[in-house]
Amino acid sequence: MGVLVDRNTKVIVQGITGHQGSFHAGQMMKFGTKVVAGISPGKSGTKFQDTVPIVDSVADAMSFSPDATMISVPAPFVKDAAFEAIDQRIKLIYILTEHVPFHDSMELISEARNRGLTVIGPNGPGITVPFECKIGIMPNQIFKEGDVAVASRSGTLTYEIVESLTRNGMGQSAVIGLGGDPVVGMNYIDVLKLYEADPKTKKIVLVGEIGGNNEELAAKYIKEHITKKVVAYITGRSAPPGKRMGHAGAIIEKGVGTAESKIKAFNEAGVKVADYPTDVPGLLK
């Protein structure tokens, strides 16, 4: 088993006939992911790309014994879709959608945790274990199999760093995008535990950004519990306080969550922090 997923992970896609859902389901299949069914209410009986059966509900998809779901429905419907997946006890629930009200996320994540289920996202690029399984939207071509695990709150920035690793001959054991929202299912600490336990992972890259204190908590956790080498990159150094940089996660409020505070915390935990994304491979050596 890789980190959370592997080549046997059976995935369903809630919203498979949508613009995003269909594009990324197709890309996932090209990557090698076992997409066993798609959900699109009212379209049961049809097939996605002539191979993947489409059903009306997660309940109906249970005959395919899915291990994971990708939720790609409009933001107002995400909570409902997530509860539908939780109700069927889908073990891994990845939410692609952005702009989900965080009150909805709080509720659905609380309930999933009560039931012992894992949520990734919302508003993140998902999880990739090259070349076992990809659930999410990371570009297929940037990966290389290897021993570096990446955890990031950002999407494109993750790709930038993963590509830079690949270009420098450093393959990845797992890449998880936590999501850019203030409330997400997995925080760094949850992912760090998985990476520490994963035999394939030798080194870890954390990609952080301004806002909140999850990087600081991660730094503390690394100091106390992580034996593997960790390198970090933090973005938002140049962001003015109080301005929201693009996604809800990235904001500095009342001096809390500045890049300086995060870099300091990492340095104190013995974690080197790269100035530029492209400096990450060098620091990993």
């Binding site: 594009f23 933001a75 994540i109 570009p139 999407g155 203030p182 909140g212 940089m245 996604h247 890049a259």
Partner: protein, 368 residues
């Protein structure tokens, strides 16, 4: 979305929270007859209004008129005052602090309260602050208020008012999809009543579709930012010279960081998001051009957004807006070769890495 004090108090009133009697004034003719001493408070979205002269007291009709006169049209902490809130003056016995906000760590609401109110909560010693994470599936329950009021050492008659306020405040936080509801100070009057003397409310932007009443204008945004919002772009004006278009919030921030580390100052933040639409790329230029930068940096890592689409958008924008300012492009990822080809055919500079592009744009923009 940050709400003005008077908007926050309207929400408080609707949810049964005690607020002072008062009304909003935009011009002298809005003033009602003077009856008792009042406070005149500038409606701006920054704290520290008192120290900056943004709050005045009036003990006569004349004083009220002149306070309004002085404040409206003035600048407080650099912000133009267009509205003031005229409120009954409270006989302050004590000032408390209470708020509910999001704990990202716990993915849950967190209650913060202190008997030391009226000052920034950051300046209050930790041991005087009560904090409590609330399970979002259960919500606020009265025992939490009992623990808080014991911590704060409230007298029984104040404690029961305080607990009623917590209940309403939590309901407000949930019903209005708030990121923050804060009362500072929560005033205990000499008459023994608790009243919310101030109101700070932040609504989750992503939930505004459930609260149409607020979605008209975000008072914190510049006109250009509002225009961008209406067009669906995540756009922030900054005070440098270099226009920026990138995709993904993280990559866009990283681009600004790289510029700054190279002594280049960004004029803006613009996250294209994930798009494969030429028009969306072209229109992004319109916004950036309105901010009048010295040069424009495009930094794209193709994924959902395809590099060739972006290239076409850039070419289209250059023609449509007749752009003569230097444009420096970095293109990577999905369909990057095709994208670079389109650009080079149209004589637009491209670089394969962010670093090279950043160095180049700082140079052509004439340094910082």
């Amino acid at each position: 979305m940050n709400l003005y004090e008077y908007m926050g108090k309207d929400i408080f009133r609707k949810n049964g929270l005690p607020v002072p009697e008062g009304y909003v004034v935009e011009k002298q003719s809005d003033l009602k007859e003077y009856r008792k001493p009042v406070v005149v408070k500038s409606q701006i979205l920054l704290g520290g209004r008192g120290k900056s002269g943004g709050i005045k007291f009036a003990k006569s009709g004349e004083e009220l008129k002149s306070a309004v006169n002085e404040l409206i049209g003035s600048k407080v902490r650099g912000l133009a005052v267009t509205k003031v809130l005229v409120e009954e003056m409270l006989n302050i016995q004590h000032e408390y602090y209470v708020s509910i906000t999001l704990s990202r760590e716990h993915r849950a609401p967190i209650l913060i309260a202190s008997a030391s109110g009226g000052v920034e909560i950051e300046s209050v010693p930790q041991k005087e602050i009560f904090t409590r994470v609330i399970d979002p599936l259960i919500g606020y329950s009265d025992y939490i208020g009992r623990e808080a009021s014991k911590f704060m050492n409230l007298k029984p008659e104040i404690a029961s008012q305080f607990r009623a306020i917590l209940k309403s405040l939590y309901r407000t936080f949930i019903e209005e999809d708030c990121e923050l509801v804060e009362i500072n100070p929560l005033v205990e009057t000499k008459e023994g009543k608790l009243i919310a003397a101030d109101a700070k409310v932040i609504i989750d932007n992503d939930a505004l579709y459930r609260h149409k009443e607020f979605s008209i204008t975000d008072p914190e945004k510049t006109p250009l930012e509002l225009e961008a919002q209406a067009k669906g772009y995540s756009f922030i004006e900054l005070d440098g010279k270099i226009g920026v278009i990138a995709n993904g919030a993280g990559l866009t921030m990283a681009t600004l960081d790289a510029l700054t580390l190279h002594n280049g100052k960004p004029r803006n933040f613009l996250d294209l998001g994930g798009t494969d639409n030429v028009e969306i790329v072209a229109n992004a230029f319109d916004l950036v051009l309105k901010a009048d930068p010295k040069a424009i940096l495009i930094n794209i890592f193709g994924g959902v957004t395809k590099a060739d689409t972006v290239a076409k958008g850039i070419v289209e924008a250059k023609k449509r807006f007749n752009i003569s300012k230097p444009i420096v492009v970095r293109l990577s990822g999905f369909n990057e070769d095709e994208g670079r080809k389109i650009l080079s055919e149209n004589k637009i500079e491209t670089y394969p890495t962010m670093m090279e592009a950043v160095e180049r744009v700082v140079k052509v923009a004439g340094g910082a």
